[in-house]
Each structure stands twice: as structure tokens, then as C-alpha cells.
């Protein structure tokens, strides 16, 4: 351990992952010596093929893999909030109760905050619905509202917009930026949308073969990220797609 | 063996009941008789009674063991079994039936179609047998009387609870079973037309005892209270016999919920109680039962006299005598 320990304690990173190894059952390691640091307030997006271990990494950071074999060093802030890949609402609790579950504020204030968060994700009036009376995208938005109503130091989001249409997704981007502005959490977000990664994150990493295969800062930008110069955006996009799937036909990438 | 340091087994019974003495008694019929008789029975006791609706062998033994009962009213067998269990008990008073031949507790009911004219007909029959109960002991006595061995018949172990015996008879699963009371009446009513009969066995099945843990009578206070209770108990026996109409209406019909006919049958077949002042004869008969059971059921020998506290005999006997006289 001596090799890393010294360095770890002095870094200002909010998240430090060193030499992370995780494997399920007897198979090959899903994560195989992964290193990652996230600075306080930094927004990192992860790309990676289906099954490459993105959720496994997030679960390791959230401390949810007690029983998974592996080694490595993981340091995270105390106050972590997770948006799961499935929306993971308690089926027996109504929408608002799901949103305020475990909220630190006193009940009345928490419910107020929850109601506001629900309104923000476009679900005002659905507070008393049961989760399974919602459409897929609505469930995902409730799960998002649950995270937005809190102020974590680290937000781990596993494809938080996967079930949303393009325009609802844009609105959710705004909400996320809002949260960033207010509380400056570090963010690690899994997404399958390369453009989304570029638009939202400060840094994009590609997970492959159990390690970070590529790591790129996104073009420097001011508050209004979307108006970035399309030039560097294009190049980065191509590079990321290349890293994701070296064997695919480049002609197709354009149409995506 | 009175390590309690209390009243010696042969000491005279004390008559003074200290204040605050209580007896926990499981004797529902006496309780009811006291209630109905009013002043006719001297129930002006110097002690408190805690009534419990507990009767029969297993229940009273369990209650004795738990220390929640001082006296119980049972038939012949429980005291013997209690002794075999290791529970030290004493019988304080006994009642028999003066006209026991005409008023047996049980008769031998036969399944429809089974000819049963005398005890010899039992040979080869399937007979219901409940080892720990009075009915079980009776079956053994009957077999001995008939000169039969356990191997000459087929003893079918069946609990005598509820209507199991009549049902098993009706179903033809057994040939003979000791049945008594309203159950017999109903069985014969129902299945008599199909050929069900009953046979009187001609043996004594009439004993009834008041008994309790020996420790109770070693306590002078309780012994004195017991003395008063035994006297009243004897009077109650007589009173019940002499007031069949009240007993029928207030006890059988109102309290126990019997129909008029059933109650009438019970009153009609009620025997005249015999409450001896001298228990010697009863002890001898008990010894006989003990010997039989010990041999047939492979239990240790027991001296029946050790089970009886003969000091109470005269108390009960005299009280009964007075009650008869007061008529």
C-alpha cells in the first residue's frame, strides 16, 4: 500500500480510486486496476460499452459492493447521492414519499422541497401517484427529483436520462446544471450519449477492459455550455466514438 | 416424611381456621350445590374459597403441580396415577353409590349387530381401551371378571374424549366400549334400532374422591379449612340427591345447557350417594384396583392405604348422616 498511500492523503481530489479490481464469481475481472480521481466540484462523464463495468464502478464508489470480490482503494466524500440505472422507487410509497425519503430536513420542509423538485421535473400534481402508475420516463424523473432535492458532495448518476425524450432531457440538463451551480457537488455520470457527455461534463472518460482507456477534457466553456464552438466538439466526439468501438464503421457514426 | 414441619399425618385435625386462610378448589358440582342450596348447607366457612372449574385426572394433576389448586374432585384412578407420577396426594373423602348395581356409571355398549348377552361374549371382541382413564381400568376389571386375558380380546387404544366411543362403535371400528351418562342414552336412542345394545357389567365403578397434594393437609390452617369443607361437601352430595328438580333445572338445564330430556335422564339415573365414615372397605377395593392395574399395565406396586387420609372419614360421614336426618 505504501506506493499510493502517501499521494492519496495530499491530493485535493474529492474522489480517489486506485488500482480498483472487481470481479463477479469466477469470471475475469470486470474492473481491473482502474485509477480515477475527481476533483471537488468536477463533472466527469463515463462512456463505455454495455457490460464494460460502469455500474460496477459506481456501485464501488457508493459502497454498495460489500460482497463483491476485489481490492483497491476507494475514497469518497461522506455525502453521496446515487441515481440508479433502474429508477428504483419504493413501489409501496407514493411518488412524493419516494422523493422525500431520507431527506434531512424536517418533514414539512422536506415535503416542500420534494414538491418543488417534482414540479421541476414536470410532475407537479403526481405527488400521490404510485410509482407503477407512471410511465418509464416519469419514473426516471421521480428518481432524478429525489436526487435534486438533496445537496450531495458527490452525485453518482447511472444513465439518469436514458428513458427520456430529447426535449425532456434538455430540461433535465438545465436542472442538473442548476444543482451544480447551487451546491458544487462532484459528479460522476454514466451516459450512452456522447454528445450529452461532451455538453455536460468537464471531463469525459471511456471505460474499457476494466480500466480508463481514454480521458479527455471537454472544450473550455462558460456558463452557457451548449453554445460551444462545434469544431473541437466534433473532433472530440469522433475520438470518443473511436475509443468506444474501434471496430465499427465510421460512416455510421455520422448519422448518430 | 413431613419435612414441612407441619401437621403430623396422625395428629388430630385442628378445628381453628386462622384468618386469611384460603382453599383453591376444583369441584364444580359442589360449588353449584352451595349456590343453589342457600342455608340448607352450612357454608358459613371461616376461610375463603377460590373456585376453579377444573376436574378430571390430568387437569387436576397439572394444576396441583402448578400450585394453583388445593383440592380436586375425581373418580377412582387419578389419585393412583398421580402417585405413580411421583406426586404425593391424599384422598380426604369418598363417595360411593348405595345402589351401585342398579346405577352403574358406565355400561358396556356394543356396536350395532354385536351380540352381547354376558361378559363371556367379550371373547375375541375389539374393545375400546383408554389406559389412563377410569374407563380403561373398568375394561381391565371386566376382563378379569369374565375370566379373560388381554390376549383373548383385542384392546383398541382410543381416547374416550367426546363422542369418539359412540362414533367408533357406530362406524363398526370397535365392538364394545364403556359408555355412560347422556352419551349412552343418545347412543342407544340413535343406534338401538340398528341393533346396538348395552350390557351391565355388574362391577363397582362408582368411587368418587376429593383429593389433593399431601402438602395441603400438612398445613394446619388448610387442614382445618379442609375439615369444614369436607363436611359441607358431604351435605352437598345429599342435598343434590334430595333436590332433583332444582338440580335438573338450575344445573343441568340452565348451567350445563342440557335438554330437558337429557337432564331428566341424568336425574332419573342418579344414584343415592353413600358417604362412609369408615374408609376401610373403600381402601380395600382401591388396593384391588391398584393391584390389577399394576399387573396389567406393568406399573409398580402401591399401598392404597397410603393414599387415604382416614381422619376425614368421620367428618364426612357424620355430616352426611346429619343431612339425611334433616330431611
Amino acid at each position: 500500500m505504501a506506493a499510493h498511500a502517501g499521494g492519496l492523503s495530499t491530493t485535493a481530489a474529492a474522489v480517489v480510486v486506485r488500482d480498483l479490481v472487481r470481479s463477479y464469481g469466477t469470471g475475469a475481472g470486470v474492473l481491473d486496476g482502474l485509477d480515477l480521481e475527481i476533483a471537488a466540484g468536477e463533472f466527469v462523464a463515463i462512456l463505455g460499452r454495455s457490460g464494460s463495468g460502469k455500474s460496477t464502478l459506481l456501485r464501488a464508489l457508493a459502497g454498495l459492493d460489500h460482497d463483491v470480490r476485489g481490492s483497491g482503494r476507494v475514497e469518497v466524500p461522506r455525502n453521496v447521492s446515487v441515481v440508479f440505472q433502474d429508477s428504483r422507487l419504493l413501489p409501496w410509497a407514493r411518488v412524493l414519499d419516494n422523493v422525500v425519503l431520507g431527506h434531512e430536513a424536517p418533514p414539512a420542509r422536506a415535503r416542500e422541497a420534494g414538491r418543488a423538485a417534482l414540479a421541476e421535473v414536470g410532475l407537479a400534481g403526481r405527488e400521490r401517484a404510485w410509482p407503477n402508475e407512471l410511465s418509464g420516463g416519469e419514473q426516471q424523473r421521480v428518481s432524478l427529483a429525489r436526487s435534486l432535492a438533496r445537496s450531495p458532495e458527490l452525485l453518482l448518476a447511472d444513465e439518469p436520462f436514458g428513458a427520456l425524450d430529447a426535449l425532456t432531457r434538455l430540461r433535465m440538463h438545465d436542472l442538473l446544471r442548476d444543482l451544480l451551480r447551487r451546491h458544487h457537488p462532484s459528479v460522476l455520470m454514466v451516459t450512452h450519449d456522447v454528445d450529452e457527455a461532451i455538453v455536460l461534463a468537464d471531463r469525459v472518460v471511456v471505460l474499457d477492459a476494466g480500466r480508463i482507456a481514454l480521458e479527455r477534457r471537454t472544450p473550455a466553456r462558460d456558463g452557457s455550455r451548449p453554445t460551444a464552438d462545434p469544431g473541437p466538439h466534433r473532433t472530440l466526439r469522433a475520438e470518443l466514438l473511436e475509443a468506444l468501438g474501434p471496430d465499427t464503421d465510421p460512416a455510421r457514426k455520422d448519422t448518430l | 416424611d413431613d419435612g414441612t414441619g407441619g401437621l403430623a399425618p396422625d395428629a388430630a385435625l385442628p378445628t381453628e381456621v386462622p384468618a386469611g386462610t384460603t382453599l383453591a378448589i376444583g369441584d364444580p358440582t359442589t360449588q353449584k350445590a352451595f349456590e343453589l342450596a342457600g342455608d340448607a348447607i352450612d357454608t358459613d366457612f371461616d376461610f375463603e374459597i377460590e373456585w376453579a372449574n377444573v376436574s378430571g385426572g390430568p387437569q387436576t394433576v397439572e394444576a396441583f403441580n402448578a400450585g394453583v389448586l388445593d383440592i380436586g374432585a375425581v373418580a377412582e384412578i387419578p389419585a393412583v396415577h398421580a402417585a405413580w407420577t411421583g406426586l404425593d396426594v391424599q384422598i380426604y373423602a369418598s363417595q360411593y353409590r348405595e345402589d351401585w348395581q342398579e346405577h352403574p356409571v358406565y355400561e358396556l355398549a356394543s356396536a350395532p349387530g354385536v351380540e352381547l348377552d354376558d361378559l363371556a361374549d367379550l371373547r375375541g371382541r375389539r374393545i375400546a381401551f383408554s389406559p389412563g382413564q377410569a374407563q380403561g381400568a373398568l375394561v381391565l376389571k371386566v376382563l378379569r371378571e369374565a375370566g379373560l386375558d388381554q390376549d383373548d380380546v383385542e384392546l383398541v387404544e382410543l381416547p374416550s374424549t367426546g363422542d369418539v366411543y359412540p362414533t367408533a362403535l357406530a362406524a363398526g371400528e370397535i365392538d364394545v366400549a364403556p359408555v355412560g351418562g347422556t352419551a349412552l342414552l343418545r347412543y342407544l336412542d340413535s343406534y338401538g334400532p340398528d341393533g346396538a345394545t348395552s350390557l351391565r357389567h355388574g362391577l363397582r365403578d362408582d368411587p368418587g374422591h376429593l383429593y389433593g397434594p399431601t402438602a395441603v393437609v400438612r398445613d394446619p390452617a388448610k387442614a382445618a379449612a379442609l375439615r369444614q369443607y369436607v363436611a359441607a361437601w358431604a351435605q352437598a352430595r345429599v342435598w343434590i340427591y334430595e333436590h332433583p328438580e332444582i338440580w335438573k333445572e338450575k344445573y343441568y338445564v340452565e348451567d350445563q345447557g342440557l335438554t330437558e330430556e337429557d337432564a331428566q335422564y341424568l336425574v332419573d339415573t342418579a344414584a343415592r350417594p353413600e358417604i362412609p365414615a369408615d374408609l376401610t372397605e373403600g381402601i380395600a377395593r382401591t388396593q384391588d384396583t391398584v393391584d390389577l392395574l399394576a399387573a396389567e399395565l406393568d406399573r409398580p406396586e402401591l399401598v392404597a392405604a397410603d393414599l387415604f387420609d382416614e381422619r376425614f372419614g368421620p367428618v364426612a360421614g357424620e355430616a352426611a348422616e346429619q343431612a339425611w336426618g334433616a330431611r
Partner: protein, 289 residues
């Protein structure tokens, strides 16, 4: 309104008969093989019981059922009315229901508490679960002497005995229910940093509720059935006492009245719990819906 439209089923195309209410209200849906259940027909639920009664009545009327074995329904009714009129039935029932309710309350409390203790910690499980399983395996009849020893022969012993019978299904079902809660919700609770109390009230209890309610169905009938046993000991009233008395006097028709009362009580109580089940579990979408 009411102008029925016949089914239009063409080769390779599935439609279903609909009911045209007006120009707009055609309702033609694909006809698919339904594997789930249809909506229940109101009152149909009772038809099995009604059939049972009918068979009993018919059997008794035609003499196929020997009245000496099973009293005829009318005998039972008249006996029941008699018992009701002279007040004994109602009085006994009231005493018994009071006892059963008390035992039920204590048993449910104990069962849930123990299930939580043993279900949510390995220590609790190690200490509690074994003895409870042993208790469950041991015949109640054999425990009676011990219970008399500890609790006497009065009301206390009766309530304790009922509670001891009741707590077993509650414990097992609640324990099993909470142990079956989806791991994903536990993970959610962990990331939301719920404290134990909230974890129990928001996740464990509602998650174990279906199991608990099933246990309650057993507990309710169990509490009633236990009356038969406990009221044999020093009973002076109660439905169990009434039946025991009838048994000693061989009053078949009173026993059958007791059985009918038991059937009615048990069936009603069970239906009540199932209603509660449906109410409390509206959030579920199951084969039944």
C-alpha cells in the same frame, strides 16, 4: 347504447366483440389469450360455501347424511336459535372473542417485534430464531402443563397460550417477508443514509407487509382455534367451553352449532384480513389485478 356489435375476426387479424354505445364509443380490442385473472364476479366468491350448504341440506333431507353423524342444518339452526335466545351463545361468544382478541393483540406484537429483532440482525437471528423454531416444533398440548405452572389456570394462562400460538405465524411470515425484500431497496436505503428507524418504518415494514398479512390470516384463525384447547382448562364460559361441555354430554347438535359458528367466524375473519390485504397493498400489480 346497447346496440351490440358482433366480432369481426378475419384471417390473420384479431379483433374482439365490442359494445357500441354510440357513434364514438365502438370498443373493439384485440382478442388475446388471457392468462391473468378476470375481474371477480361480485358475490360469486360465496358460491362454494353456498354449494357446501346445499349439499349438506340435500344430504340431510334425503337421508343420505345420517343425522346421528352430522346433524341436519335445520336442527342446527333451531338449536342455534335456542342457544341464541337463552343468551348462552352470545355470552359465550363474547367471552371467547374477547380472549381471542387479547391473545391476538399480544401475539401480533410479540411476533412482529421478534421478527424485526431476528430478521434484521445476525445476532438476533442466532439467539432468537432457533428457540422459536423449537417452540414451533413442540406440540402445544405438551406445553400446557408448563404454561399452567407459570401462568396459573386463570385468564392470564389462556391469553398467553393463545398469544403463543398466534405469534408463531406472525413471526415466521414477517421474518420471511422482510428477508425477501428486494436487495435493491436496501441499497437505496443505504445510499439515502436512512437511519435504522426510518429504514424499518419506510422500507422493512411496508416491504414485509404482504408477508405479515398472510401471517395474520393464520394468526386470526389460530387465535380462534386455540380457544378449544384453552377453554377446556378451568373454563366457565366461551365457545370452546361450550363445545367441550357438549362433547362430554354427547350433544352432537350443539357441537355442530359450535362448528358452524367456527366456520362463520373463521371465514368472516379471513375475508376481513383479505380485504385489509387488498386495501393495504393497492400499490401492487399482480396476477390478481
Amino acid at each position: 347504447m346497447g346496440c351490440a356489435v358482433t366480432a369481426v375476426v378475419q384471417a390473420g387479424r384479431v379483433t374482439a366483440p365490442g359494445r357500441a354505445t354510440a357513434h364514438q364509443a365502438v370498443d373493439v380490442r384485440p382478442r388475446v389469450r388471457r392468462l391473468g385473472l378476470r375481474k371477480p364476479v361480485p358475490l360469486a366468491a360465496g358460491s362454494g360455501v353456498v354449494l357446501l350448504l346445499a349439499v349438506w341440506t340435500a344430504g340431510s333431507a334425503t337421508g343420505l347424511i345420517d343425522p346421528r353423524v352430522l346433524s341436519a342444518p335445520w336442527t342446527v339452526v333451531t338449536t342455534g336459535v335456542d342457544l341464541a335466545v337463552d343468551g348462552r351463545l352470545v355470552e359465550n361468544l363474547a367471552v371467547s372473542l374477547g380472549r381471542a382478541a387479547q391473545g391476538l393483540a399480544w401475539g401480533v406484537l410479540a411476533g412482529v417485534t421478534l421478527a424485526l429483532l431476528s430478521g434484521l440482525s445476525r445476532l438476533g437471528e442466532a439467539l432468537l430464531d432457533g428457540p422459536i423454531q423449537v417452540k414451533r416444533a413442540v406440540p402445544n398440548l405438551a406445553l400446557l402443563p408448563l404454561l399452567i405452572l407459570w401462568f396459573g389456570i386463570g385468564e392470564e394462562m389462556k391469553v398467553v397460550t393463545i398469544a403463543l400460538g398466534v405469534f408463531i405465524p406472525i413471526y415466521i411470515h414477517t421474518h420471511n417477508g422482510l428477508r425477501s425484500i428486494d436487495k435493491r431497496y436496501v441499497e437505496l436505503a443505504e445510499t439515502l443514509r436512512l437511519d435504522r428507524r426510518r429504514f424499518v418504518t419506510r422500507v422493512v415494514l411496508p416491504g414485509a407487509l404482504p408477508g405479515f398479512l398472510l401471517g395474520l390470516r393464520f394468526a386470526v384463525t389460530g387465535s380462534l382455534l386455540a380457544l378449544v384447547v384453552v377453554e377446556q382448562v378451568n373454563g366457565t364460559a366461551g365457545i370452546g367451553y361450550m363445545m367441550e361441555l357438549a362433547r362430554t354430554y354427547g350433544q352432537t347438535e350443539v357441537i355442530v352449532v359450535g362448528l358452524v359458528v367456527y366456520g362463520v367466524l373463521g371465514y368472516t375473519a379471513d375475508q376481513a384480513v383479505r380485504l385489509l390485504q387488498r386495501r393495504a397493498l393497492t400499490w401492487r400489480r399482480t396476477l390478481e389485478d
